[in-house]
């Protein structure tokens, strides 16, 4: 049960709520009114949560301004969220002001905090000091009328099971896997409430995968250490998860160049050339089938013909990079892979809860979109789950916006929201130490 609200909170509750899923990579945001019909994904705006600076055009882009950027070469990023938690409030404040309060704020997002509730998500296991900083900024700097901060995963319990479902919300048992930019978390949720001691996280997230691909490409081809944007784009375009450890081995064989004197043909169904943008004719790169002749030209073994272009050949990188989600030890991270991590989380629960959780596993976060990810997760998990248990696992329809939509559904139900909101007046009276305890479930 969510913490009980006070009379003051209900008195001050506004009809409009800014629902903000404050991710390290992107903000998912939208204004929700308690009078509005069931919200949808379309009500959610995805905004880069960064300030980016280009050394080439000497411009600084704040959050959504990145849309206007035409040259992502050597683009440097400042991200207020680290490991999933808001750390740098100077930058986050500038971004929030730009996106929600300034003249440039998007229609449908602009609001006056004094007349708006804020529903803000956080990652599980946030250090208390950072929670306190966050609460103080929300009330003392932004002066939101009322506010609720909670672990984003829990909001996924407010999605109806299916269109014809008769079950009431929140969902009774939900095992929420969030594999996103900062890391991958496993959250068992009972009646909308997080079972804290069972929460587990894996170090591997989208950021680490991009940085790994950046490192590999720099070692094997060009120095790309300053090309985070480009490598992230390439990763999203070409990565796939091998269906099994056996298939992984097979693919690794077939993408090996062989030995001196015993060169092998590369499997053309795996090896690609990623055509790098020149930021004159093209802003974005794209993948196409590997052309061995181009590789020889690049290495000066053959005269250069055809258009001048820079190619990044990608072979085993396509599947060894996302493999880290399943085998973190491949680069020395001393953690089990995601399927075993899920079992570790469940091992702390009584049998009946474990059964309930496995029957309703939902995956959100950008890494779940990597082709093959869901299939590998399900098949490895199936081998770990006792044979007579039901395993139901699905990726959310929109794994990026799903947590936001759960929050929006929560916020559109006046009574639910009223129960958890804390009004500014109450904060002013009782202080931030009290508020951190209250949002943690204590009085």
């Amino acid at each position: 049960m969510p913490p009980k609200g006070s009379k003051k909170a209900s008195a001050a509750a506004q009809t409009q709520t800014l629902v903000l899923d404050n991710g390290a990579y992107t903000l998912k945001a939208g204004l929700v009114s308690s009078a509005s019909a069931d919200p949808s994904y379309d009500d959610c705006t995805v905004i880069p949560n960064c300030i980016a600076r280009s050394t080439r055009d000497k411009r600084t882009y704040v959050a959504s301004e990145l849309e206007t950027c035409k040259d992502f070469g050597e683009l440097a990023f400042r991200r207020p969220v680290e490991r999933g938690f808001i750390v740098n409030w100077e930058a986050e404040k500038a971004i929030w002001e730009n996106e929600f309060m300034g003249a440039g704020a998007g229609e449908g997002l602009r609001c006056d905090p004094k007349e708006t509730n804020l529903l803000l998500t956080e990652k599980p296991n946030c250090p208390k000091e950072l929670q306190k900083n966050c609460d103080e900024i929300v009330f003392e700097q932004f002066e939101f009328a009322a506010y609720y901060r909670c672990v984003g995963s829990t909001l996924n319990a407010y999605h109806p099971y299916g269109p014809d479902s008769l079950f009431s919300l929140p969902q009774e048992c939900l095992l929420l896997i969030d594999t996103s930019y900062s890391d991958t978390t496993i959250s068992p949720i009972y009646n909308g409430q997080l079972i804290q001691p069972a929460v587990r996280r894996l170090t591997v997230g989208g950021k680490l995968l991009t940085n790994y691909l950046k490192e590999l490409s720099s070692l094997r081809h060009y120095n790309m250490m300053d090309e985070t944007y480009l490598l992230n784009e390439a990763k999203e375009a070409v990565s796939f998860v091998a269906p099994s450890a056996q298939q992984f081995s097979r693919d690794l064989e077939w993408t090996w160049k062989g030995r001196l004197g015993d060169k092998r043909e590369l499997d053309p169904s795996i090896v690609l050339d990623y055509v790098l943008p020149d930021y004159e004719q093209s802003i974005h790169g794209y993948a196409r089938p590997h052309d061995p002749a181009k590789s020889r030209m690049r290495r000066g073994l053959q005269p250069v013909q055809g258009p001048k272009e820079d190619l990044l050949p990608l072979g085993n990188e396509r599947f060894t990079v996302p493999e880290l989600l399943f085998r973190p030890t491949d680069i020395g991270i001393q953690e089990v892979g995601l399927p075993a991590a899920i079992m570790e989380s469940l091992s702390t629960l009584p049998e009946a809860l474990k059964i309930g959780m496995l029957a309703n596993v939902v995956v959100v976060g950008g890494n779940s979109l990597i082709p093959g990810f869901m299939e590998r997760l399900e098949s490895e998990l199936r081998t770990l789950v006792p044979a007579d248990y039901l395993l139901n696992i699905a990726r959310a329809e929109d794994p990026i916006k799903h947590t936001w939509l759960g929050g929006a559904r929560f916020a559109s139900q006046r009574d639910r929201l009223k129960n958890v909101l804390v009004a500014k007046a109450e904060y002013d009276e009782r202080g931030s130490g009290w508020l951190v305890r209250k949002f943690a479930g204590g009085g």
Binding site: A91, K93, C126, N316, E317, D388
Partner: protein
């Protein structure tokens, strides 16, 4: 799958400072060097470095590399906030907005505070402090997954150990039918789970793979294929001579 094949023992292959590695399925840091090659290592000039030293250096190198891959912001780079932003409205806000600390500092603080709580004498009543103080044991010290202790406030049923229960069922096929009908949720146990405080950030990480699990895989540091040869200077693996040369020219000792 682990790759246990060793390159055919050709004559030209082993250069000084390199050794073939038979993948025994153990962590290389524990089996740092194939015993067969010990003599050669000892006989080589500069090869007298202790196995232990190599492996701890190697571990530190891996930790540094992972930290690098997991970094959110480049500390060398500062991008100023452009344009006009509102001025801080309170002392608290001013202080928080001016922080230039990175996540590492906050997480170190959290661990330091928990360590302090652990050392402090246990309060008489079951307070949040004592519960939190019990947690870091879960990972930071032992690196072994220990089920979190339910709070002292809810004794009795909460202490039921699901783990022993589970192995009990698995061991006895006659009882397996009970699995489809698990014991009903014990309300006290449930309430203990739902009111337990969060783990610390460090304690929330999953456990390392069990020692008897599938062996870790090793890859060529240069091309990403299986790493069958180990560099004795830095511990990295490569797939063959071509990549050995490339490794020596680029990354050897980079992480050491």
């Amino acid at each position: 799958m682990p790759h246990v094949e060793v390159l055919p023992n050709s004559t030209s292959s082993v250069a000084p400072g390199w050794t073939y590695v038979v993948d025994t399925g153990y962590d290389p840091s524990k089996v740092a060097i194939n015993p067969k090659n010990k003599k050669r290592v000892a006989a080589q000039p500069g090869g007298a470095r202790g196995e232990h030293e190599l492996s701890s250096r190697q571990q530190a190198a891996i930790a540094r590399r992972i930290a690098e891959l997991n970094r959110d912001n480049d500390p060398k780079q500062s991008i100023p906030v452009p344009g006009k932003t509102s001025t801080p409205k309170t002392q608290n806000a001013r202080r928080i907005i001016q922080y230039q600390r990175q996540i590492k500092h906050w997480l170190d603080d959290e661990e330091a505070q928990l360590a302090q709580l652990q050392q402090a004498p246990q309060p008489r009543s079951a307070t949040t402090a004592s519960r939190i103080a019990a947690q870091p044991l879960r990972r930071s010290s032992t690196m072994i997954s220990v089920p979190p202790t339910p709070s002292e406030a809810t004794p009795g049923p909460a202490a039921a150990t699901p783990i022993s229960q589970r192995s009990h069922f698995e061991d006895d096929p006659l009882l397996s039918i009970e699995r489809s009908m698990p014991p009903p949720l014990n309300p006290a146990e449930l309430s203990a789970l739902l009111t337990a405080p969060p783990l610390s950030y460090a304690a929330s990480h999953v456990a390392p793979p069990p020692a008897d699990g599938p062996p870790s895989r090793h890859f060529c540091d240069n091309c990403g294929y299986w790493g069958k040869i180990k560099c004795l200077k830095c511990g990295a693996r490569v797939c063959g001579l071509e990549c050995k040369d490339a490794h020596e020219a680029t990354r050897c000792l980079k992480w050491a």
